[in-house]
């Protein structure tokens, strides 16, 4: 699928901001399932970002604006081609033993341990315990089961949580948005010894109605030996397919914050985020 993305973030400050230093994780990744064809960043006031790869392999653009400015706008535009569903490899059925003995096991130690948004407290532990089955078969089915459980028992409710809500808090009220669903699923997977990581990106909603919210999306990837990191979306109870565009991965939200930074000056009066995901029909691409 060929998709075009626009992600615009605007900060309006009370008074002015200065000495602003920021990191952006907005550039879509390129891997076996997708290729980022183009990426353009426009920052107002003007700044030239420095590009680097962070420890999770995510593309980061960092920039600073020293002079006082009343607002900051970051516009990211990209084109991504995702591998069609028909061309995707079937997911390998791996046993848990294979997982434990896999040669890459050293790489995902940190995806089995707690992280800042996802602590292994009693509430999460007992939820995991409720779910565990003695006859668990393969890694992927288990992961899907965990994801489905959240989809069934949680309420998708924008406004019930905030950007700093932890997995524990979301689990307590059994509600949240995709960010929270992803956190809880990751926590439960980790407690089930399935290495799980957070994915930030976009989802092309073919059924989108006029005026419906478009925002950046979050889902989960679990590690399957002989296959790799595989995505599952607990908010929609399905595998991450050609409609999903991955931007960044990490232990949890703290590792992938799309726009993060600090500055000196007045508080933020207003934050506006505009996301736009469209399919580019193939016939309209010049030969």
């Amino acid at each position: 699928m060929l998709l075009s993305l626009q992600h615009k973030t605007t900060f309006v400050y009370k008074g002015e901001a200065k000495d602003s230093v920021n990191d952006l994780r907005l550039c879509p990744a390129s891997d076996t399932l997708q290729q980022c064809r183009s990426f353009k960043l426009t920052i107002t006031p003007t700044a030239s970002p420095l590009e680097y790869l962070d420890f999770n392999g995510n593309i980061v653009h960092s920039f600073s604006i020293i002079e006082p400015h009343p607002s900051l706008t970051i516009q990211a535009e990209s084109e991504v081609e995702t591998v069609p569903n028909s061309e995707r490899k079937p997911i390998y059925v791996a046993s848990f033993d294979e997982l434990k003995n896999s040669p890459e096991a050293y790489q995902f130690a940190e995806f089995l341990t707690p992280s800042s948004y996802i602590t292994f407290d009693d509430v999460l532990k007992s939820e995991a315990e409720k779910l565990i089955r003695n006859d668990r078969r393969d890694v992927w089915s288990e992961a899907k089961r965990v994801g489905a459980h959240i989809f069934k028992t949680f309420k998708y409710s924008p406004g019930s949580t905030g950007v700093k809500t932890s997995a524990l808090e979301s689990l307590r009220i059994r509600s949240g948005v995709c960010q929270d669903f992803a956190h809880v699923m990751i926590g439960l997977c980790r407690l089930h010894e399935i290495p799980a990581r957070y994915v930030s990106g976009y989802f092309f909603n073919t059924l989108r109605r006029e005026g419906e919210i478009e925002a950046s999306h979050a889902w989960v990837e679990v590690y399957i030996p002989n296959h790799g990191w595989t995505g599952f979306d607990p908010t929609h109870d399905r595998e991450a397919d050609e409609r999903y565009i991955k931007v960044a991965t990490g232990k949890d939200y703290a590792d992938i914050i799309p726009v993060s930074g600090t500055y000196r000056g007045g508080i933020t009066k207003k934050l506006t985020v505009d996301v736009n995901v469209r399919e580019i029909s193939r016939t309209s691409i010049p030969a």
Partner: protein, 481 residues
Amino acid sequence: MPILNPSYSTDNFYDEMMASGGQIRPHYGRLHERLGTLSEDDFNKRRAAVDLAFLRRGVTFTVYNDSEGTERIFPFDLIPRIIPAKEWAQLEAGLIQRITALNLFLHDIYHEQKILKDKVLPAAQILTAKHFRREFMNFSVPKNIYIHICGTDLIRNHAGNYLVLEDNLRCPSGVSYMLENRAAMRRAFPNVFQNYGVQPVEGYADQLLKDLRYIAPKAGSKPNVVLLTPGVYNSAYFEHTFLARQMGIPIVEGRDLIVKSSKVYMRTTAGLVQVDVIYRRIDDDFLDPYVFRSDSVLGVPGLVSAYRAGNVSLANAIGTGVADDKVIYAFVPKMIKYYLDQEPIISNVPTYLASDPKDRKFILDNMEKLVVKSANEAGGYGMLIGPAASKSEVADFKAKVAENPRNFIAQDPIMLSRSPTWCDGKLEGRHIDLRPYILYGEKITVTPGGLTRVALRKGSLVVNSSQGGGSKDTWVLRGES
């Protein structure tokens, strides 16, 4: 009355001055002779003069139990600890070997992680270590040096063998005391000092400055090197100002620096002056409130972005704390083998890791005979000295270890060596350790001697300054006696 008393006993510990049969070791010969000619009065006069000098010069550390802070002189004992040349040469080689391996280790785990891929070290331990700075993966540090300044603590067991107790790779302190102690000793015992031929330590500041300049981002004209201190509230503030003055570099606090366009500048009365190298005495966690997301006011926002852009160099590099961990310490011999294909010249204290199932069983079964320490993870569970602990304390600790094995290591208790020390009017043996200072620049330099810390309380093994410790000058001889 002479200060040497016939009742001086080694009590079956390894004594630096006296061998088990009562003979004086050759390298202490001259000192022993000199002490024999001193009366108690004489000796006390010298002590008083030295103490007064320390007070006047402000050689203090600050104990903060109220917002005021009391200045204390780090107690100094006039009897030096003496090490003959060949013995030192061995230590020097061992320390150089160790820091070389540690530096290669740091480079490796922040790049290809070969040592993890080859399963020589457990990946889980390293990657989840508190001080592993994942933000700095694949980051190239100037001249590939991570550890510019290292203080490795050495102890000596009852057989007289040196062992490494721990490596301090973040902001090791005590150098100023080493330098001040030497100055004091030269004043107190000028003749003995001259006659012995003691290797000098005064070159430390010069060497450090040279090494700091070596890692400047751009080659060429004199780079601007500064010392970054947390400020007056830090207990080692005296040392910071001391070193800055010795090197002739500005001492700055976080608020004196500003980062503009990824370059670091000092705010001076003549405007902004760019900074090239920062010798930072602030822990990673507090360096840059932006990156490490702390509420720290000590750091410089944007410092890490300047570091990352290669516009400023930091000594020590960010991320060395991962090798400071007590669990990682246990693997250093393996690192020496893996990176250098050598056996360690100086051994570790035999250490057991609670995270390893075999070791864990051993620890739990033998806790009353072991020294159990927290591995420096979040929490700080303290330390248990098995042989000195009560049954309930041991039981408590067993529970802690069982619950959180990754956080604990255990070691065989070592009978630390002793050195003659002036205690309440007579010479008695007191336990000591040694902290030599290693500088890594174009080449690795080990300052001859270092800080010998002494546990002043009788029978105590604690050499820490805030808990009744003191220090001695360390004399490394040019010859054997």
